[in-house]
């Protein structure tokens, strides 16, 4: 087990290296000048700027410099915000996104399991159809719509009640997190609901469940120990990437609710072609994702005894 994890971590490092290189190449291949400003500059200023940011050196040299610094953990200074280093940015904004992401994932997982179980139990009946309808509605309405509508309704609620039930935007307390986390988690919750329902439906018809029922085990025990444990596997395999995506990808929610998170930064960095931030965030995100995937695989194998870690044929 330990050997396997170490091996995976080693290959993970290689993967991250490839991610970084591919992004570097893509970034320089995409047309656009990261230092272009609203007011065009004279040739002198252009030259000065390029020299200051090291863009006047050949691309290969820039790549070498980047790698050298990356190994030491230094991703440089942001182009657009020259007083902030990329490490500062990550250190400052990642916890915000992480908190938001984890809370929304909590909502999504809890909701997914709950609604998945309810609809599997009520297969074909009214509850199933209603939840299905809501799920479809939920995924076919884009996230910015939920965020915008949610915020608008919050304003109405606050005005109607006379005090501030939930803050309309901003960050800083637990109450600030509730609405954005809910909105962010909705899409994933819908997905998990369907996933749970689908796999629960398969599990429920299995022989061992019938045996457990025949044995007279309490419903809760059957559900938790047998049904859930088997049905949760597809959700688990998706959880790793979901964690990574949600903690760094809440761009829309962070914009609408004015949350200083990494997701917003990520997209802005691409739009502004902020080279150092793009590289730093990509490496960070890539490493985080690879780590999450490894963790998911390990947990997956732990939960299901039939699966051996190496994936060798038995």
């Amino acid at each position: 087990m330990v050997r396997y994890t170490l091996k995976r971590l080693a290959t993970g490092l290689v993967t991250v290296y490839f991610i970084a290189t591919a992004t570097f190449v893509a970034m320089h291949a995409v047309p656009g000048d990261p230092l272009a400003g609203a007011k065009a500059r004279t040739a002198e200023i252009q030259r000065n700027l390029r020299r200051r940011y090291g863009l006047d050196r050949p691309v290969l040299v820039q790549y070498g410099v980047f790698l050298e610094n990356a190994v030491r953990g230094d991703f440089g200074i942001s182009f657009t915000q020259p007083n902030r280093s990329v490490n500062d940015i990550i250190r400052h904004h990642f916890p915000v996104s992480a908190e938001l992401g984890l809370l929304s994932l909590l909502f999504a997982t809890a909701g997914g399991i709950l609604f998945g179980a309810v609809t599997a139990r009520a297969h074909g009946r009214l509850a199933d159809r209603t939840v299905l309808f809501l799920v479809i509605l939920g995924i076919s309405v884009p996230s910015f719509a939920f965020a915008g509508l949610g915020q608008y309704l919050m304003v109405d609620l606050n005005r109607a009640v006379g005090f501030e039930v939930l803050p309309v935007a901003g960050w800083g307390s637990f109450r600030h997190m509730l609405m954005p986390a809910l909105v962010l988690g909705l899409g994933t919750m819908a997905f998990f609901t369907r996933l749970m329902r689908s796999s629960l439906l398969e599990v429920v018809h299995q022989d061992y469940i019938r045996t457990a029922r025949a044995k007279g085990l309490p419903w809760a025990r059957i559900f938790l120990a047998h049904e859930l444990r088997n049905a949760i596997l597809p959700m688990l395999s998706y959880l790793g990437p979901a964690i990574a995506a949600i903690t760094t990808g809440g761009f829309v929610v962070e914009t609408v609710f004015a949350i200083p998170g990494l997701g917003r930064y990520f997209v802005q960095a691409f739009q502004q072609l902020d080279y150092t931030v793009i590289m730093g965030l990509t490496v960070f995100y890539g490493s985080f994702l690879v780590l999450m995937v490894i963790a998911t695989d390990v947990v997956y194998a732990l939960v299901d005894p039939r699966i051996s870690l190496i994936g060798e044929r038995s």
């Binding site: 007011k39 065009a40 007083n83 608008y152 800083g172 004015a258 802005q268």
Partner: protein, 610 residues
Amino acid sequence: MALGSTLERETREMWSLLRRALPAPPGGERATIEPTSKPPTPAGTSPWQGTPATARLEHRGLGVCRVASRTIRGNWSRQLLALVATLPLVARADQVVRLAITEDPPQLDSTRSNDTESAFVLGHVEEGLVTYGQHGDLRPGVAESWDIRETGATFRLRGDARWSDGRPVTAQDFVFAWRKVVDPATASEYAFVMYTLKNGQAINAGRLPATTLGVRAVDDRTLEVEFERPCPYFLGLVAIPTFDPVREDFYRSRQGRYGATPTDLLFDGPFVLSHWDHEASLTLDRNPLYWDARAVRLDRIEIPYITNDPNARLNLFRDGSIDFLRAIGRDESRRAEVERLPMKSFAQGSPWFLAFNHRPGRATANAHLRRAIQLAYDPREFISAVIGIPGARPAAGIIPSWTSGVKEAFRKEHPLPPLRPDLTEARRELELARQELGGKIPPLSWLTFTTAGSAREAEYFQYVLKKRLGLDVVIDKQTFKQVLAKENAGDFDIAVTGWVPDYDDPMTFADLFASWNANNHGAYRDGRYDALVRAAQSEADPAKRMSDLARAERIAIEALAVLPLYEDAYVYLQSLRVQGIVRHRIGPDPDLTHARISEEEPFRAWSATR
């Protein structure tokens, strides 16, 4: 009523105690205590309604709890207040205005900053030689008097201008800052504004050391400036934040991190930056050491939200979380109408053009094609329906209608005929263009931004040009940086461009289309135009200067270097409690230096006739 006044007095005492005792917690909960209630806010329901003599405590974490004077007896009220006072509270200063901005200022180093949000913050926390007054006029700032001559200028600084650490602002601070701006190592994007100073351009190109810049401190309170060429609009130039002073010893003590955090900055303006949580919030507090602190009525400017989603900002305004919204678009103004939010308008006046690409090989280099496009364009319906902001007006030339001329507006002294559509004529010009371009006009590439408004404009023109002239337009939507890159590279046929002026003089617009100007994205070249601009640059006689510029403008317009579209206007939202916010065409916009919160609601009586 005795009980009520006791309660109020106690609340007030508690309030002032708290204010002195507790600092503001970082970016988190705030509580407010208001000893008296406000009368109901107009524009719909007020969430904070109350009756007089009711003390209200409001802690954002707990909600409102009303303490009615009738039901509380003396002792209990004290205990209640004491209980509440143990919670992390900060009494809200009465005179606080809240705003939201669209993005975090990239940096607050005045020698390098070049974007609107930094300009807004710097305009409030720093002050240069002169400052903009309530009517858009230039007034004494750190300099209390000056004289501007043909070869240079002298500024006499006031004695009571201080930095936020108590030391006086001296002429040496200006010298240091200006040298920093032109120093090539700084790589300041706004260094070009200093090219009117002697050696400015040469220093920036690396040919001369920064100490040769045409500025020196005669003594602590006298600044002597030497020009490279006559600059009658120099006073407007020094109002730009790039010309703000920076103290050398403080700058060096920051070791390269000057402007990174509030502690890495010194302030000499009406406010100080007391708190900056990147991407989250900023707080500007009153600067008691400001030489004109008496005139500043606000205690604090809070910027608790940073988001570029216009609907989110509208929601925040509606919620009462912010008091001011700088500009709302066409769709948001419709929403504001429905929700009865207090709207005002501001004719900001920045010109917008259709820039044509004049490089050889481009279809738009053909004069007949440009003329055809201009004759097919109907400004009235475009501005009214597509732009959709009342107050926007059609532009006739490059220089907008509000720019100052010698005595009156430049446009008044040098009028231009308005551009009118004429479809028959347009088709004739198109035919001529077609013949000259070898029988077929290729599809035109239209470069535009990704905002909803730009997309609408582009699609409108695409259809109109297709329907009226049979021209094919391909819309090239790009993010901001890509648009700039493509403009600079000349990779477009038509681009929508605007120009935000740096100072109030036709020169800021007129030299846009000179062949040496990098902002001349279309590469329009006309020797006569260049000659006239050059002449105006070294001309001392104001009337002659203006007429040179007017002639240059006429040349460019007749050749349709660009197609002037409209002069911009904003509809904005301002809470009725806030007064005295000044909008500037040039300078920090909005300007809250003289703003104040007024609790008395302006009573508006309206009489219906007919």
